[in-house]
Symmetry: C2
Subunit: 344 residues, 2 copies
């Protein structure tokens, strides 16, 4: 494994020797710890620089922190996720922390081992985005290390929660469509494969709110849901299924932009026009949605702000906070050309 000619990396001992001080002193300077004279600090800093010394994360991990924040995403295809990362990065800029990312995959099981991988690697803090695992499992992890969960509308004493107010977002879309005269409004939902956290997952909240709003408006009989996934393919398949039904919907609300894009494809393939025959709306307000030729009506939930919030909470927890915090951010509707009056 070792490469030939591999140059030996300098250690804290090398720095200490070079600066003519003890390793303790170097360690203290490194950690900005109490009890170092300015002169000492300067000497050490100079030696560190000269030797190009960087601390070994693994060695640090044995006694202290790794200065690593682990982020778990279900996948990396949703263009909304990078926004969250931008927010986190903005928040931790200037600290020594580094973000590492892992993919949880489509099942609670693969996700669980991804979480283990992060725990085994001793991350100082953990962010789980839209996790599939049970709250029990998440709390188990949260007992081991500072944890923030983004997405599910959970409330736990063990971790912080940050979520978009999905119910409010769905209401915005639905009121918009209903205001345009639509009655046969269908929904494309994301099936929870793990089935672990059915009630509080954002996808469930979105689907349930859709149903509730339909009922509230006396449209209970018009409820039509295709349960696939929040992906292009999921949206495509779901829309094809919905379009094939007897009473064809006049509007389709996909639970995510990615699915809305697939929906647009299916509608197009069916020879129908948007929004003439069918209105289409999404959720996430991705960059793609804003492009002129797509012009998808969507719900904006400001991923960067979500990311900043999450980053801040994580740092606070790492610094010692243990009282749980819960944040909701309010989404807003961005109406574009993919939605219009219901056909008469």
């Amino acid at each position: 494994m070792t490469q030939p000619g591999r140059p030996r990396r300098s250690t804290i001992a090398d720095v200490a020797q070079h600066a003519g001080v003890s390793t303790t002193a170097v360690s203290k300077v490194l950690r900005n710890a109490y009890g170092v004279s300015p002169a000492m600090r300067e000497k050490v800093t100079a030696s560190i620089k000269e030797l190009g010394y960087r601390p070994h994360a693994a060695a640090r991990a044995m006694r202290g922190r790794t200065f690593t924040i682990g982020v778990l995403f279900p996948d990396l295809r949703n263009p909304f996720f990078p926004d969250i990362l931008d927010g986190i990065d903005a928040q931790i800029a200037g600290t020594e922390y580094q973000v590492i990312i892992v993919r949880g995959g489509a099942s609670a099981k693969t996700e669980s081992s991804a979480i283990d991988a992060l725990v085994d690697r001793q991350v100082d803090g953990l962010l789980m985005v839209a996790p599939l695992n049970t709250r029990k499992r998440l709390e188990e992890v949260a007992r081991i290390l500072p944890t923030v969960v983004l997405g599910p509308h959970d409330k736990s004493a063990a971790y912080d929660s940050v979520a978009d107010d999905d119910a409010a977002g769905v209401e915005l879309v639905m009121e918009h469509l209903i205001g345009l005269g639509h009655r046969r409004i269908a929904h494309i939902a994301h099936g929870d494969i793990g089935l672990a956290r059915v009630s509080t997952s954002l996808q469930t909240i979105r689907a349930e709110t859709y149903k509730r709003v339909m009922r509230d408006h006396g449209l209970a009989d018009e409820i039509a849901i295709a349960t696939t996934s929040y992906t292009e393919t999921g949206g495509y398949d779901g829309a094809r299924e919905l379009l094939a039904r007897d009473a064809r919907p006049t509007a389709i609300f996909a639970g995510a932009d990615l699915a809305a894009f697939g929906t647009l494809a299916a509608v197009h393939e069916a020879g129908l026009s948007v929004p003439g025959d069918i209105s289409v709306a999404g959720y996430d307000n991705t960059r793609m949605a804003g492009l002129a030729h797509v012009s998808l009506t969507s719900v904006d939930q400001d991923g960067v702000t979500l990311g900043r919030t999450v980053g801040r909470l994580l740092l606070e927890r790492i610094e010692g906070r243990t009282t749980p915090v819960r944040f909701f951010i309010s989404p807003s509707l961005v109406a574009r050309l993919s939605t219009g009056p219901a056909p008469s």
Copy 2:
């Protein structure tokens, strides 16, 4: 930092005690090392399971490997990247290895510290996708740990290279467009911000090949390049610039699908039709490109195969191979409805 009530994690010593053997024995079982009797193996395995023991990556890192593969992406917005990860995952499935991902950002400098972060965390192998840093810098890293570089057409004795044959891909697009009668074909390129590896970066190869093909066909005077970035915004801005020029292009070849999507938006906003007034082509053949309402002509480079190849090479290197390997994969053209005959 430590959470209250944090349960102490079991160690190799706990397992040894529980099984009534030495820590060495446990370690050997863990590593499938030589010299353990079946009986011993069984006892130890049982104890590991019972105690729910998992090795501490940090402690392992101090002496051996971390079973971690680091992957560096410039960003996570390009929908082509998850395909690569799928390939890597497929390849390392069944091994103990775990992939962690970091973002390099838009500059060679931020990328360089992302690389450092991975090195500091003792990953066993490193994959750099479309890196911005100089070859010198990459070789410096490759001397420290097993490295594979994906994207640039580099040749180095220190690391393995895997790349799409970008020249061939661009030729496919250009011949396609020229065959359709286009002469004023413009290109949207990605500017190398770090400027570090100008000549061999995939973006440079694509732009240079575009120019070469134009010249080869006697179209040197028609060469028109907008240098922005391989993003939606980059494509949008680039296309607006190109469309504003005196001799408006009849075709725009964007160096990446993401940029092509932005181009489509700009063309649409300008009131022009695709492909009636302007043909548009991209590169990467992302899922989005295949959707009916987008139907973007693009170059397919099979990210999953790229990922598998990269994963295999990395494992080989970790196992000890030091002779460099270089792979090219051949792209293919997927012609769709966004390209058509040049307007007469």
